[in-house]
Symmetry: C2
Subunit: 135 residues, 2 copies
C-alpha cells in the first residue's frame, strides 16, 4: 500500500518500481544483502502483473543494483561496484540539485532543462540553407 503505480503519469510501471527500489537503497531503507519482496506477492500488493515486477527486477539486476537467485529470491546487491556507484551518485546528487535549482531560477522549465542536458550528452550537426538543391 506504500507504492501506488500511476498509469496516468505516462511513466511505465516497471520503471516506477525500479526508481522506487533504487531510492529505497539510496536512503538506506533497503540495505545490502537484504531480501526484496517476492515477485508474486509484490505484484498482488500493487495489483499489477507478476511479469511487470519481474521485468523491473531483471533490469535492476542488469544494472547491478540487485541480485536474483532462481528459486531463492531477490536480494540487494552488496558488490563493491554497486556500493561505489551509489556513493558516487550520492555525491553527485547535490551538484545536480544545485544546477537544476539554478536553471529553474533563471526561468527555465523542466523540459528545457532536460533539453540542455540531452544536448550536452550528445552531438550536433548543421542544417542546409533555404535554397537547397532541387532534383
Amino acid at each position: 500500500m506504500l507504492f501506488r503505480p500511476t498509469p496516468s503519469s505516462g511513466v511505465p510501471i516497471y520503471l516506477q518500481l525500479m526508481e522506487q527500489v533504487k531510492h529505497s537503497i539510496e536512503t538506506g531503507a533497503l540495505r545490502p544483502g537484504e531480501q526484496l519482496p517476492g515477485i508474486r506477492p509484490l505484484a498482488e500488493e500493487l495489483v499489477i502483473n507478476p511479469n511487470t515486477v519481474a521485468k523491473a527486477y531483471r533490469e535492476l539486476e542488469h544494472e547491478g543494483v540487485i541480485e536474483l537467485r532462481h528459486g531463492a529470491g531477490a536480494f540487494v546487491s552488496g558488490s563493491a561496484r554497486a556500493k561505489k556507484e551509489t556513493d558516487a551518485m550520492k555525491a553527485g546528487l547535490s551538484a545536480v540539485a544545485a544546477t537544476i535549482e539554478k536553471l529553474r531560477a533563471r526561468g527555465l522549465s523542466d523540459d528545457e532543462i532536460r533539453r540542455l542536458f540531452e544536448a550536452e550528452l550528445a552531438g550536433h550537426a548543421a542544417l542546409p540553407k533555404t535554397g537547397g538543391h532541387r532534383g
Copy 2:
C-alpha cells in the same frame, strides 16, 4: 547533405531535425526572422517524408522556436520570449557542462547521469517490506 538522419540511433527523425534547428539557432547559423527551408524541398534533401518535416516544424512552433505562416513559409521566431529563453539556455549551458564533466570524472556513465537528473526532476515514495500481506 549536411544533415543525415540516423534511424539506427533509435532517436525519431523529427526529433533529430528539431535539435538540428535549435542548435543552428543557438550557434547563430540561423538568425531571427530568417526563413527556413521549405517542408518539401527539405524532405527531398533528407530523403524522408514531407510529413515528418512538417511534424518537426509544428513542434518547433509549439515551443515558440519558429513561426509558421500558411502559404508563406517557416521563419525563425524573433519574439522576446524565444530570445530570452535562448539567452537563459546559453547561460545555463556552461553550468550544465561543468556539472556533467564533474560527474563523468567521478566515473558515472551518461546513463547514470541521466538517472540522477530524472530523479531530481521527479518524486519518490517507499517500498513495502518482504513479508507483505497474502490474500
